[in-house]
């Protein structure tokens, strides 16, 4: 038995908003692979829960008319990996979430939960940053959109206002069209582990595949929240696709990352692998974009 005061099951998004307005102290529960584990650990004793798990309208991936990819917030990791639209347009996201936990966790864990928990190590978060994802939130005042970089406020805290729920994650056509990416998770085990560091990059090459028209580099666990390496991206834009330039971009990430010492790894080690993972991921992304190094 879980230590909870009450459970309210939402029947629709509007119903979820209403329940959250009625019970302002309540915790939202989606798949529960964070919330229930925290409850089992004794945190959140006597909590009220608003369950949105039953809202099938928030599941699935769609391509909207303007080419925006829309991922329902309750879509499970395994469904994202298997989804043909994800495979076609942003396969790297499917690959990234295929590294979360183990198979059963990937069946219950949702991409909305993975971002709303505000955790820097979330495998989906760095890739969503790299693709300039937009977060859709629905609350008492209706729907609002926010870029993912503004959604993260600080460790464990996201811009989820009272009675709001995350209803979708959008990736606009201009964010994915012409880009190819790669994600590397560095962890101690191949499964059931949390990233020591995660690096997700994507690149857009010129028509002749010789120049980096755009470079996007994002990290998890390189700071308190997932982040973009803006200086390194700036340094990379317009450069020729050469091994030396990839080294240069990778070395510049130290201007951006601010990892810390933790029991998983030291700051120095994280800084080191920030560079190494960036370079490896860039080389793979270039290959996927049709270029060569």
């Amino acid at each position: 038995m879980y230590d909870m005061k009450a459970l309210y099951e939402a029947e629709s998004v509007q119903d979820a908003v209403r329940l959250l307005e009625e019970h302002p102290e309540a915790q939202i529960i989606a798949g529960g692979s964070d919330v229930l584990v925290q409850m089992r650990e004794g945190k959140r004793a006597g909590v009220e829960l608003v369950s949105i798990y039953g809202l099938d309208e928030l599941r699935g991936v769609k391509l909207e008319e303007d080419g925006t990819l829309r991922i329902g917030s309750l879509t499970s990791f395994s469904h994202i990996t298997k989804d043909p639209l994800i495979q076609k347009y942003i396969n790297v996201l499917g690959e990234a979430v295929d590294m979360v936990g183990g198979p059963q966790i990937r069946n219950i864990g949702t991409i909305g939960g993975n971002t709303c928990n505000g955790v820097t190590s979330a495998d989906s978060a760095s890739t969503l940053h790299a693709w300039d994802a937009v977060i859709e939130l629905t609350g008492p005042q209706g729907v609002r959109l926010t870029p993912i970089k503004d959604f993260y406020i600080k460790a464990g805290k996201v811009d989820l206002r009272p009675a709001e729920i995350q209803t979708g994650i959008l990736i606009r056509k201009e964010s994915y069209e012409g880009y190819a990416g790669h994600y590397i998770k560095y962890a101690m085990r191949n499964a059931m582990d949390i990233a020591t560091l995660g690096c997700s990059v994507n690149v857009k090459l010129s028509a002749d595949k010789k120049v980096f028209e755009d470079v996007r580099i994002a990290y998890g666990v390189a700071g308190p929240v997932p982040m973009r390496a803006v200086h390194a991206e700036e340094a990379g834009r317009g450069l020729e696709v050469t091994d030396g330039n990839i080294e240069k971009i990778g070395d510049t990430v130290l201007e951006d990352v601010t990892p810390r010492d933790s029991w998983r790894a030291s700051k120095a080690f994280r800084e080191h692998i920030s560079k190494v993972l960036c370079k490896r991921a860039l080389r793979e992304a270039v290959l996927r974009a049709g270029g060569a190094v």
Partner: protein
């Protein structure tokens, strides 16, 4: 009135005025049989399957979704039932190890393979691993050893008999695939 096939019945949470406790009528299919019971909203699916239906193959291991001992199949996909609220099972199709038993108590091929390959040591992780194996086998796909390792990575075996577990799953996968091929060959003739 025409009877609908597999009606999805959603039930509301009810509060007991005396104790203030909340309950919900959970109607679901368990191992092919329609069942219903009143569950405390605080219960996990492990609690419901063990306590209300005496399905003791569903083990309480870590209870935080790490070890896979409580793994069951819900609507065709594997879930750790310890971190799945029992109330969410309403309207679902749930399968546990007990459901693999044949009409006269026979073991299924995958269970027999676990015995033949000595993939069972203390046996605590076995029901959970076998249910993951069932999902793998029923996909009808052929996986490499590395892929099988990844597909089974949500299970901890503290006797550490992983190689034999992999052998049992791989052997059954190959056997089923060759039987399927043979059957397809016969139809073609």
């Amino acid at each position: 009135m025409e009877e609908k096939k597999n009606p999805v019945m959603k039930h509301a949470v009810m509060t007991d005025p005396g104790s203030g406790k909340q309950y919900k009528l959970v109607r679901c299919r368990i191992n092919g049989v329609e069942r219903e019971t009143m569950v405390d909203v605080r219960a996990s699916l492990t609690d419901m399957l063990r306590n209300d239906y005496s399905l003791s193959s569903v083990k309480k291991g870590c209870e935080v979704g790490e070890c896979g001992a409580c793994n069951v199949i819900i609507d065709g996909e594997c879930y750790n039932s310890c971190i799945y609220l029992a109330v969410w099972a309403d309207g679902k199709d749930i399968r546990t190890l007990e459901g693999l038993m044949g009409p006269n108590g026979e073991l299924s091929d995958i269970q027999q393979a676990f015995i033949d390959e000595a993939a069972v040591q203390c046996g605590f992780c076995t029901p959970g691993v076998i249910m993951s194996a069932v999902e793998i086998l029923e996909s009808g796909k052929e996986y490499t050893r590395d892929e099988l390792r990844k597909l089974l990575s949500g299970h901890l075996c503290r006797c550490t008999g992983y190689e034999n577990i992999l052998n049992a799953v791989e052997k059954t996968m190959k056997k089923r695939l060759s039987e399927k091929e043979a059957a397809a060959g016969q139809t073609a003739e």
